[in-house]
Amino acid sequence: MADLRIDYCGIEFKNPIVTASGTFGFGEEDGEYTELSEYGGFSAKGLTRTPRPGNRAPRIAETPSGILNSVGLQNPGVESFAAEIMPELAKLDTHVIANMSGNTVEEYCEMAEILSETDTAIIEMNISCPNVKHGGLAFGTDARTVLELTEAVKKHCKKPLVVKLSPNVTSVADIAKAAEAGGADGVSLINTLLGMKIDINTRRPILANNTGGLSGPAVMPVAVRMVHEVYEAVKIPIIGMGGVMSASDALEFMIAGARLVALGTGMFVKPDLIIDVKQGIAEYMDKNGIKKAVDIVGTLELN
């Protein structure tokens, strides 16, 4: 029987599949249509230093094979997460990955400190956020900024730190290298691609926020290419994501170099996707005589 267990940052995951941050809230809907204990890990919704009500609706627009979202990081803030939500999540039979977003280096450091005192297994740092000190340009778009931010946060972080990379950059490999040089224990990618959808009758964007992040199958080839580039560039382990709708999609990410694979938008359409994905990976392993999941990772052979 295929052994789906896999090590990530020194932590054993019972299988390589986790949720993508923001696509299953804080797990409140566990057990309705999806059993979080089926997952190796659960990446919780993005947290900010203080509570955020999020953007106005509509916050979603459908696009070919995907969606644009502009939730705007609606969340109760890191302190409320640490005090009220994390103790509940700790009861789940899965590893928790707390995801944080900041507008300043100080905010990220404070959040890392607070989250380090909780039972979260890993801290995931979303760097697709505007850096208010630098005219609102996203932290994740500049290698030097990413290096300095990661170095600073590492000093306050007692858990493995995974840096979540933005695809809205010229070279994702350069950003990954900067995160590694700054001391990151892992990287996750991809976050959403910035996009816009227009209603031709009103000549206005569908999203109240005008622009939003593209996710779903539409982004998958971009995401797989980026995971491949990052795998070639760094030694730290990768969480791959972007449009996974099946076991074969997840396997593509693993072959490209991802140790863990996240399901996000796909769950909106197929709430029990995790079951099919795990089963499909196990069948693939049995068929190909692969005993351990890690033996799939990075096995890509280029033409």
């Binding site: 979603i60 979202n69 939730v71 709430p271």
Partner: protein, 254 residues
């Protein structure tokens, strides 16, 4: 744990131009369904997201829903034929709250908003007001008449029944006969009018809302609507906290 069901389409009828009445075999959904809840339906083909459609009626084994072709998703759904399978999640959301003290119930529906009100009309004693754009858009009049204490049908253009917006007819009725609860579903301008009528008279009012949705189960936080409250209580989820809310819980501004 609940799961999405593959349901066989048993009957299909076009009840007005572009409006389709579907009955599917879905015993689990039928058994659990409450008035005002909805289904999240896979349309097939290249349509990515599911589409939210209200439960119109249920039987022991079957669920009925009625939808209008709006865009590509509902267009593909309308191409299904009896015998075809449709993947459906449901029943979802928080439906209408029925309380024994309600004796003078008013139901107000507009356009495609009449469909989620039918099961409700069958379950309670109510005076029903249904508004449509024009005579050729009038649907389900006979069925509502069989289910309700009284039915008033109106058209915006005056081509059939009460002439003008149906909320006006309901308002006259309420001022003459009183009401202790109002249930409403329909286009936003109608809901705003009904909210004003109810709140000006201190009558509790439950309205069913629409918003663009993702997961349909409360996890992705995209289908919010505004409550008018400060901070974190400023948004509620249409798919999970709703689609039915008391009029005082939502601003109808976004």
């Amino acid at each position: 744990m609940k799961k999405a069901h593959n349901c066989k389409l048993l009957a299909k009828r076009e009840i007005a131009h572009g409006i389709f009445d579907f009955t599917v075999e879905a015993p689990e959904i039928a058994a659990a369904a409450q008035c005002g809840q909805f289904l999240h339906i896979e349309c097939g083909g290249d349509v990515f997201l599911r589409r939210p459609i209200s439960i119109c009626d249920t039987d022991d084994n079957t669920v009925r829903f009625i939808f209008e072709i709006k865009g590509h998703g509902t267009e593909l759904l309308a191409e299904k034929e009896p015998g075809d399978m449709i993947n459906i999640m449901g029943p979802l959301g928080h439906g209408f709250e029925l309380k024994p003290e309600y004796k003078k119930a008013i139901i107000i529906g507009g356009g495609i908003g009449v469909f989620p009100l039918y099961k409700l009309a069958k379950n309670i004693e109510a005076d029903v007001f249904l508004g449509f754009r024009s005579k050729d858009r009038v649907v389900m009049e006979d069925e509502f008449s069989a289910a309700a204490r009284s039915v008033t049908v109106g058209t915006d253009d005056g081509s059939y029944g009460y002439a003008g917006y149906i909320a006006g007819a309901a308002e006259e009725f309420i001022d003459n006969n009183g009401a202790d609860i109002i249930f409403a579903c329909g286009p936003l301008p109608m809901l705003k009018a009904v909210k004003n009528i109810a709140e000006a008279r201190g009558i509790p009012c439950q309205i069913s809302m629409e918003q663009r949705m993702g997961c349909g189960i409360g996890a992705c936080l995209v289908c919010t609507c505004e409550t008018g409250k400060e901070g974190m209580d400023g948004q509620v989820r249409v798919c999970k906290d709703g689609p039915v809310f008391y009029s005082t819980e939502v601003t109808l501004n976004g």
